[in-house]
């Protein structure tokens, strides 16, 4: 066996062991039944978990709610992140490293600590309410924490870098020649942006959005700390099934359903993009 083949075989074996096999076990467990004992299930081949997922309005509502929360967070990240990534890609080259580092610094400063900053800012005796009260805003203090607003602020703060980095990479690989050609041919700045820069950046928009949308659907910590009881993301539902209800098979079925809903569109899109590039 040549070294190359040996390395390849080892890599395959490791990936199979730590990625493919665990996901395979989740799939098997999704068809099992919860039972008292340790571990708390018995293997079976029943679709009961999945029919409950579809029949029980609770799970369907959690799906819809999660997708809504994730879509809003993705849109807010785009609103804030697109100008940031665009500005970064057009900043003088000498500053770019420092500016990018400044985007990364909050990301490296543990996300639990950043979420705790929002708790301190938003809670009823927190700094924002104190400021509003001092300004004489009627109705202050407001119940800002444990709300949709708090949830979105926290999510955007945590996930913004995940959107900005792929988008920045795409925007700085821009085809300068095409932009120059467009403006040489008389297009105004806005037209160049709308007809050349924006369409060329769309793959970056898609990649960055996927990196926000998918993890936010499964997010547990941020909705738990900042969202109210209504912020039932799929991550929270799965967590509750596993830890509170000790229903491992139901948690596994939720995981499978999430994979199906979240990753199948992504896989299809990648496959189509791959075919378009090939042909």
């Amino acid at each position: 066996m040549t070294p190359r083949r040996l390395l390849l075989a080892l890599c395959w074996a490791w990936l199979a062991l730590v990625v493919a096999l665990p996901l395979g076990i989740v799939l098997v467990l999704a068809f099992a039944r919860a039972a008292p004992g340790l571990p708390p299930f018995e293997l079976a081949f029943s679709g009961g978990n999945f029919s409950l997922l579809v029949a029980d309005g609770f799970y369907l509502r959690a799906f819809v709610r999660s997708l809504g929360i994730a879509a809003l967070a993705t849109m807010l990240c785009l609103l804030l992140g697109y100008p940031l990534a665009y500005g970064l890609s057009r900043a003088p080259a000498a500053w770019r490293g420092a500016l990018l580092t400044a985007v990364m610094l909050p990301f490296w400063t543990g996300f639990l600590l950043r979420v705790s900053a929002w708790i301190g800012l938003l809670r009823e005796d927190g700094w924002i309410n104190a400021a509003l009260g001092a300004l004489g805003v009627p109705g202050a203090p407001f119940p800002l924490l444990y709300s949709e607003l708090a949830l979105q602020l926290g999510l955007v703060h945590v996930y913004l870098p995940f959107l900005v980095l792929p988008l920045y990479a795409r925007l700085s690989a821009r085809e300068v020649a095409l932009e120059e050609a467009a403006s040489d041919l008389g297009a105004g700045k806005w037209t160049v942006f709308r007809r050349v820069t924006l369409p060329l950046s769309l793959p970056g928009v898609a990649a960055g959005s996927a990196l926000v949308f998918i993890p936010v659907c499964g997010e547990y910590v941020v909705p738990e700390l900042l969202g109210g009881p209504g912020a039932e993301t799929l991550g929270r539902v799965l967590w509750a099934e596993f830890f509170a209800n000790r229903d491992w098979p139901m948690a596994a079925a939720l995981a499978v359903a999430m994979l199906f809903v979240l990753l199948l569109p992504l896989a299809l899109w990648r496959w189509r993009a791959g075919r378009e590039m090939a042909g």
Partner: protein, 273 residues
């Protein structure tokens, strides 16, 4: 682009990112438990942090787990990234890349659940791991950290191109010498930044550790999470300020290093232009 326009694009996002950090920095020095009013300058929350035994214990445990997990992730992730960048065409390459990308996009709860089930199954079949705790958390963190290392190494090798390795081989270097003298130094910065990324991700993780850990192992994020549910104290902000300082130092150092050793001069030193 005019500076004014550039500032208009950049400032809102930076203000949003840094406002909460500035708030934590200021109120970590406040001589009051309240987070509303400034009552005086004090180090009392830093002292309280230093005297918080369980928190320090959790921090030490987490640093150990993160260092081990990042090293294991770097070992496997470097091999995986190298295979993707330099392995040429092989059967199932698309599937290989998809499996490797999975930990990047999968929600934490799914990673945690799936790895826990792997540990439970392996315990039932071969008796290992004997117990769940720091060891299983380390393995779990290594298994998602490796994907980030692999992405970093692969990108660096793809950007660098194969000219240097080809030149070395043309000049008669045997394959292993090419790897050791050319490829390895070429990917070293990516390996280092991959290690740091895996280290940070491990230090940030609550969800996966809660799934695969045991009652004996409470990591720093787990402890912070349960404390944050009860209420945030300025002690959190003292910790955050220390972390910010360390991160700023590390990022500044990395930036200086990158400026001192950019990619191009490597090629120039090797005589390839």
């Amino acid at each position: 682009m005019r500076p004014r326009a550039l500032a208009a694009l950049l400032l809102p996002a930076y203000a949003f990112l840094y406002l909460p950090l500035a708030f934590m920095l200021v109120f970590s020095f406040n001589d009051s438990r309240l987070l509303t009013a400034w009552t005086g300058f004090s180090f009392r929350w830093y002292v309280a942090l230093w005297n918080n035994g369980p928190l320090l214990e959790a921090a030490l445990l987490s640093l150990g787990i993160a260092a081990m997990a990042a090293s294991l992730a770097t070992l496997t992730g470097t091999a995986l990234g190298y295979v993707l960048a330099r392995g040429g065409a092989f059967r199932g390459r698309t599937g290989f890349a998809a499996l490797l990308a999975a930990p990047l996009v999968l929600p934490d709860v799914i990673i945690g659940l799936s790895l826990l089930l792997l540990f439970v199954a392996s315990q039932a079949l071969i008796g290992l791991p004997a117990a769940r705790g720091a060891g299983t958390i380390t393995l779990a963190h290594a298994s998602f950290g490796m994907a980030y290392v692999a992405v970093s190494v692969r990108a660096r090798l793809t950007d660098a191109g194969t000219e240097l390795e080809e030149a070395a081989a043309d000049l008669g270097a045997p394959p292993f010498a090419v790897f050791r003298r050319v490829t390895l130094p070429l990917m070293a910065p990516a390996v280092a930044s991959g290690w740091l990324l895996a280290f940070t991700l491990s230090l940030d993780d609550v969800v996966v550790a809660s799934f695969v850990g045991g009652p004996g192992a409470t990591t720093l994020p787990m402890r912070l999470f349960s404390a944050a549910k009860l209420g945030v104290t300025p002690e959190f902000y003292a910790l955050a300020s220390i972390v910010m300082l360390l991160v700023a130092l590390a990022l500044g150092g990395a930036w200086l290093l990158r400026r001192a050793f950019p990619l191009r001069p490597v090629a120039a030193r090797a005589g390839v232009e």
